[in-house]
Symmetry: C2
Subunit: 206 residues, 2 copies
DNA sequence: TGGTTCACTGACCAGCCGTTCAGTGAGCTG
DNA sequence: CAGCTCACTGAACGGCTGGTCAGTGAACCA
C-alpha cells in the first residue's frame, strides 16, 4: 500500500504551512512593511535561510501566504453563492460567511486590509508589486449573482458591479469594526443589520 | 502698514507646501512604503537635507502631509453636514463632496487607501505608527447625523455608528472604482446610485 | 560502521535609505 | 565693501534587512 505522499512531501508541506502560519501571525502583529524575514523565521522556529529553501524571496512568501488565506475565504463565499438559494438568503449567508471567516482568522484581517488594494503601479516598486489578487474576481462573482436577480426582476436595476463593490466594502467595514471592538455581540444581529440595509436598498421601488 | 506675515514666513510656508505637494505626488506614484526621502526631495526640487529643516523626520513629513489633505476633505464634508438641509439631501451632498474631492486629488487616493486604517499596534513598528487620523471622528460625525434622523423618525432605528461605517466605506469603494476606471461617467449618476441605495436601505419599513 | 546526502543553520555580506552636519554662498547690515 | 547670518546643500555615516553559502549533523545506505 503506497502512501499518496512520500514522507518527504509531508514534511515539506508541513514546513511550508508552519512558515505561512508564522507569516500571518507576524504580519498581524507588526503590519506588512515591518514584518522582517528574521522575525518570521523566529516565529516559525526555523533559521532564516530555511525560508529561502521554500520561497524564492520575501515577496513570494507573502504573496503565497496571502493567496492561501484568500482561497479559504473565497471557497466559503463561493460555496454559498453556488448553492441554489433564494436571493436574499444568498446575501445573508455571504455576509455571515465573511463574518465567520474573519472571526476564525482575526489575525488575518490586517493582511487583508493592506493587500486589498495595490500599493502602487507595477513599475519600480521597492518591493515588487505585492498582488491584490482576486479582489475583482470576487466582486464580479457577486455582481453576477446580483445581475441574475435583476434579470429575474427580484431587485431593481442598477450597475451590478458598483453595487457589488458597495456591498462588499460596506459589510467588510462593519465586520472589521466588530473585530476591532473586542466585544463580540451576537453575530446574527450584525448579519441582519447589513443584509437588511442591502436588501431594502435594492428592493424594487413601488 | 505691517504685513500679516513676514516675508520669511511666506517663504517658509511656500517651502512646506511644495514639499508636501511633492510628497503626495511621489506617494501617488510609488506607494507609501516605496516613497524615499531622496525622491521626494528631487520632486520638490530641493536637497534632501532641506526637508529636515521643516520636518523632524520622514514620519512627520508623511503624517503632516496626510493631515493636510485630510483636513481639506473633512472641511468639505463638514460644510455639508453642518448645513441645515433635509436629511436625504445631506446624504447626497456628502457623497457628492467626497466624489468631487477625490476627482480633484486623484493622486491622493492611494495615500488615503494606505492610511485609512492603522498598519499595526503602536508597539514596535519599524516606522513609528503612521496615524490613521480622523477616520473614526468622521464616522462618528456621520453617525451623529444619522442618529438625529432616527430620533426624528425619518429613518429606521439601527446602530448608527455601524451604519455610518457601512455608508462611508461602501461609497468610498465605488468612488475609488470610478477613479480607477479612467472613464469619467456622469458624477450625478454615481451619486444617485449610492444615495439611492442608502436612503432606501434605511427608510422606515411600512 | 564508514560514507554520503541533504535539509537546515546562522554568520556574513552588500546595498539601501533615513539622518546628520560641515561647508557654501546669497543677501542683508553697518 | 567687509563681515555676518542662515537657509540650503549633498557627501558621508550608520543601522538595518534581504539574501547567500560554507558548514553541520541527523538520517539513510551499502
Amino acid at each position: 500500500m503506497l502512501p499518496l505522499r512520500s514522507k518527504e512531501e509531508v514534511v515539506q508541506e508541513f514546513r511550508i504551512q508552519s512558515i505561512q502560519d508564522a507569516t500571518m501571525r507576524v504580519i498581524a502583529r507588526k503590519g506588512m512593511a515591518a514584518a522582517t524575514v528574521q522575525e518570521i523565521a523566529d516565529e516559525a522556529g526555523v533559521a532564516k535561510g530555511t525560508i529561502y529553501l521554500y520561497f524564492r524571496d520575501r515577496d513570494e512568501l507573502i504573496e503565497k501566504t496571502f493567496e492561501g488565506a484568500m482561497a479559504q475565504l473565497m471557497a466559503r463565499v463561493d460555496a454559498v453563492l453556488d448553492q441554489d438559494l433564494p436571493f436574499d438568503q444568498k446575501i445573508r449567508e455571504t455576509i455571515a460567511a465573511k463574518l465567520a471567516f474573519f472571526s476564525d482568522n482575526r489575525e488575518f484581517f490586517r493582511l487583508y486590509l493592506t493587500l486589498r488594494m495595490p500599493e502602487g503601479p507595477a513599475s519600480r516598486q521597492r518591493r515588487k508589486q505585492t498582488c491584490h489578487p482576486q479582489y475583482r474576481a470576487r466582486a464580479k462573482k457577486l455582481a453576477g449573482v446580483l445581475k441574475q436577480a435583476m434579470d429575474r426582476g427580484e431587485i431593481r436595476e442598477v450597475d451590478p458591479y458598483r453595487l457589488a463593490l458597495f456591498i462588499m466594502e460596506g459589510s467588510t467595514a462593519v465586520i472589521l469594526e466588530r473585530l476591532t471592538e473586542d466585544s463580540s455581540p451576537a453575530d446574527a444581529a450584525d448579519v441582519e443589520l447589513m443584509a437588511g440595509l442591502v436588501l431594502d436598498g435594492i428592493r424594487k421601488r413601488e
